[in-house]
């Protein structure tokens, strides 16, 4: 481990620098929810504060208040002791606050340089945008974060990881005193996370105050100095990380202790369900082969951008393949659309929950019954009672937290949205379920629930494919592991035969980078 992760236990609390930014008694409500309920928080110069909390605890809402996107209903924000008012994103920027937001906030059609500078582009003497200096300054910033990206190309031509680098560059383009990172590592690979931590370290050494939001405890303990925990919109604890343990924080977060061991149940695999032979796509992936039995969990590991999602989506009928065959229960199948795949018994829990997984404005029951409508209707007509009873069955089985079955899915927290998506598929009684990064951006409590659930599904005889970028999750849940690199299958091992190191080596194709 590098030196960054060492925390300074020698410093007593009183010796800490005075806070650069203080939040006092901040509240913010949305129709039906109190997202923030009188929270207080301090950020100190030269220190990284980790903000921890379950999905929907109000973390991102706080970020949006600090960056001028939302206005607080009450409370005070003090910058270096003086109260400030942040009515717009511009005002926040002017006050020296910058953020990498949880959602992508980039523009596909604009150039990289413009993505970095939009809103505060350098101007010429006449007030026009100075493209030349914008491009050169963008190159400069990209160089400092060792990103090899041409600032003049359009963003849509970049990979997901490169986009994240652009988002980071954007945050750095503002001369800020306070840097906020809202789940910045969710889509990054190990190496990129390391790079990011190096940057955070530099920021810290420059005396900036950093707010770091993550659901991943290893990261929090590695990079952060202080912590603050939110629960249901309230600040329930804060202090120095050196003086606490992971278990304490989890208890603060969820109000109880969570058994974090992966609840993998040993299952004797049943019959062969799925066989994939020489499955290829002209540009995205090539020659994927594996077999899967009922009750088995196949983990697919790889770096972000390795093409795992592309492969799974193709298997689900979203995109074409060019060669290869899929056998389901021994018979060759070819799915032209997800509807075909679902009919055959293959379902897919997508990685991008909000975009692909759930229809956010529609109610819970409508989402859950959507793939089962044919089964629910007589003469084409739906029965409301049956719809609700089906939805209720899965909502209860998954312990869904909602005020009613007619609540719009978009108003649920991330973990509960994921439960709706899984429930929707279980209602179709599938044979194979593909879960693409099922716990990405999900808090520790919900994560354990999803894992518990996956085990149960396997026990019930489903064949499970789980795509994950988290090694502990792969090692904790999968029976076998398939590793992909740059669209190709580099290996397929039993769990007993792999170690974290061997997985990383296979995924990166290089030795000793971990």
């Amino acid at each position: 481990m590098s030196a960054v992760a060492l925390t300074d236990t020698s410093l007593p609390m009183t010796d800490l620098p005075t806070p650069l930014l203080e939040l006092a008694d901040i509240s913010r409500s949305f129709p039906g929810v109190k997202a923030l309920d009188g929270v207080s928080l301090s950020l100190r110069p030269g220190r990284v504060t980790a903000l921890i909390g379950e999905n929907g605890a109000g973390k991102s809402t706080l970020v949006k208040i600090l960056t001028g996107i939302y206005q607080p209903d009450g409370g005070e924000i003090r910058l270096a002791g003086t109260p400030v008012h942040l009515p717009t994103a511009e005002a926040a920027q002017a006050a020296g606050i910058t953020a990498i937001h949880q959602e992508t906030v980039l523009f596909d059609e604009l150039s990289v340089a413009e993505n970095i500078f939009i809103g505060h582009a350098p101007r010429t003497r006449w007030g026009f945008i100075d493209w030349r200096s914008m491009n050169s300054r963008a190159s400069g910033i990209l160089r400092t974060i060792e990103a090899d990206i041409d600032p003049t190309i359009r963003l849509r031509d970049l990979s997901i990881a490169q986009r994240h680098l652009v988002a980071i560059a954007r945050a750095l383009s503002v001369d800020a005193r306070i840097v906020i990172l809202d789940e910045p590592t969710a889509a990054l690979s190990h190496k990129e996370v390391e790079d990011l931590f190096r940057i955070i370290d530099t920021l810290k050494n420059q005396g900036k105050a950093v707010l770091f939001i993550s659901h991943k405890f290893e990261e929090v303990f590695r990079i952060a100095d202080d912590y603050a925990v939110f629960r249901d919109g309230k600040a329930v604890g804060a202090g120095r990380l050196a003086a606490t343990t992971q278990g304490d924080i989890v208890r603060l977060m969820v109000g109880r202790s969570v058994d974090q061991a992966f609840p993998k149940i040993q299952v004797t695999p049943g019959d062969l369900v799925l066989a994939v032979k020489g499955y290829s796509h002209p540009t995205e992936f090539d020659d994927i082969n594996f077999e899967l039995k009922a009750g088995e969990i196949l983990g697919i590991y790889g770096l972000v951008g390795a093409g795992r999602s592309e492969f799974c989506q193709s298997l689900f009928g979203i995109t074409d393949r060019s060669r290869g065959t899929v056998y389901l229960d021994g018979r060759p199948k070819w799915f032209k659309s997800p509807a075909d795949a679902i009919e055959a018994g293959i379902v897919y829990v997508p990685e991008e929950r909000q975009r692909h997984g759930a229809i956010l404005p529609m109610p819970i029951f409508g989402n859950i019954t959507l793939p089962s409508l044919k089964r629910l209707s007589r003469w084409g007509f739906l029965s409301g009672a049956e719809e609700f009873s089906l939805a209720r069955r899965y909502a209860e089985r998954l312990d869904l937290r909602a005020s009613s079955l007619s609540q719009a899915v978009g108003t649920l927290s991330g973990g509960n949205q994921q439960k709706v998506v899984i429930g929707k598929w279980l209602a179709t009684s599938p044979k194979v379920i593909i879960l693409d990064e099922p716990t990405k951006g999900i808090d520790i409590g919900s994560k354990a629930a999803v894992h518990g659930f996956m085990s149960e599904l396997a026990k019930d005889g489903l064949a499970v494919i789980m795509v994950s970028s988290e090694i502990p999750e792969i090692l904790g849940m999968a029976d076998r592991v398939l590793v992909m690199r740059e669209g190709r299958q580099v290996g397929l091992w039993r769990r007993a035969d792999v170690t974290p190191e061997s997985l990383v080596r296979a995924a990166t194709g290089n030795l000793g980078d971990y």
């Binding site: 994103a89 523009f107 596909d108 059609e109 945008i129 540009t283 592309e310």
Partner: protein
């Protein structure tokens, strides 16, 4: 050449050239510089309006009220001119800009402050503005002899061999280019249309940006109102009826994506020129008037299909060594 064709604008230039060659094969004089200048002059108003409309479309909106705005403003300045022939023409041009701007601002406010979807808001104001034109004029025409000579002369007077009307179009193109590429507002049009949520996070107020786009489109429509009325030397309620669809079509042919965030000034101008050339050429090459409508429909469909192909994502190409 390959590079040229890869860009939408390049494709359009080629299409325009092919079109000109086709026309010339039946009517060689069409390519005479004087005639081409005439076609450009004729298309000027469409070009101007297409530029205003593209600002709006870039922000993922649409302004269906431009033609009604044009009619109202045109009628208003014509009536002013008829009633007070002494008013200096520049003042009337300013008035046209101002009235157009005000009508555009109403659209903008409806969209900004009331969150009414642009297509609905401008569908509503389209009928309202046109109706107001009727109410204001009482259904009466303003005719050539009621207009002052200065009022009628301005767009036709020649500067360096080109009529002022053409110069206005050229100037508008230049200003629009500077606005779209060199100013924060112009870039905000792209940002708001490209990704509205992201725009909010970068400190761009989507509503206000749309408002300005509508103001721009309105002011331009107002100016076009004056130009139209003085060009054709008559003002009545129905002028330019249905022209809004031509304007939108010009933008679409020019590759301004109806989904917002994509497009260029050059594209809008070329789209307008393409449409304008066809409208001008059809009577000249003596295609039966009954064929004109079907031909322009086919061209719009083809243009959309071509643009969509150009826009299609290339895929991610994870397999680096696959071509």
């Amino acid at each position: 050449m390959k590079n040229l064709l890869a860009r939408r604008e390049g494709l359009l230039v080629v299409a325009l050239l092919v079109l000109l060659v086709l026309i010339a094969s039946r009517f060689p004089d069409f390519l005479a510089p004087k005639n081409l200048a005439g076609v450009f002059n004729d298309t000027s108003i469409l070009i101007i309006l297409a530029l205003g409309q593209s600002a709006v479309i870039l922000t993922r909106s649409i302004d269906l009220s431009v033609a009604a705005n044009l009619a109202f403003t045109g009628m208003a300045v014509a009536m002013l001119n008829a009633a007070y022939p002494g008013l200096p023409v520049p003042l009337l041009v300013l008035a046209a800009l101002g009235i157009g701007l005000a009508l555009g601002a109403i659209n903008g406010l409806l969209v900004w402050k009331f969150d009414i979807p642009p297509i609905v808001a401008t569908l509503g104001t389209m009928t309202v503005y046109r109706g107001m034109t009727f109410v204001m004029s009482g259904g009466k025409w303003v005719n050539a002899h009621q207009m002052s000579p200065g009022f009628l002369e301005l767009p036709r007077s020649l500067i360096a061999g080109l009529p002022v009307l053409s110069w206005v179009a050229i100037l508008t193109v230049g200003l629009a280019w500077v606005l779209f590429t060199r100013t924060p507002l112009g870039r905000a049009f792209y940002a708001v249309g490209g990704n509205p949520t992201a725009a909010v996070y970068t400190g761009i107020d989507g509503g206000r940006t749309r408002f300005f786009a509508f103001c721009l489109s309105g002011a331009i429509a107002g100016m076009a109102g004056y130009l139209w009325v003085s060009r054709y030397a008559v003002a009545y309620v129905d002028i330019a009826a249905g022209f809004e669809l031509d304007v939108v079509a010009a933008c679409v042919i020019g590759g301004i994506s109806i989904g917002g965030g994509i497009g260029s000034v050059a594209g809008a101008v070329l789209g307008a020129l393409f449409l304008g050339t066809i409208k001008n050429a059809l009577p000249v090459v003596q295609i039966s008037p009954f064929w004109q409508m079907a031909i322009s429909g086919t061209i719009i469909i083809c243009a959309v299909a071509l643009n969509a192909r150009a826009e299609k994502a290339k895929g991610r190409l994870i397999l680096r060594n696959a071509s």
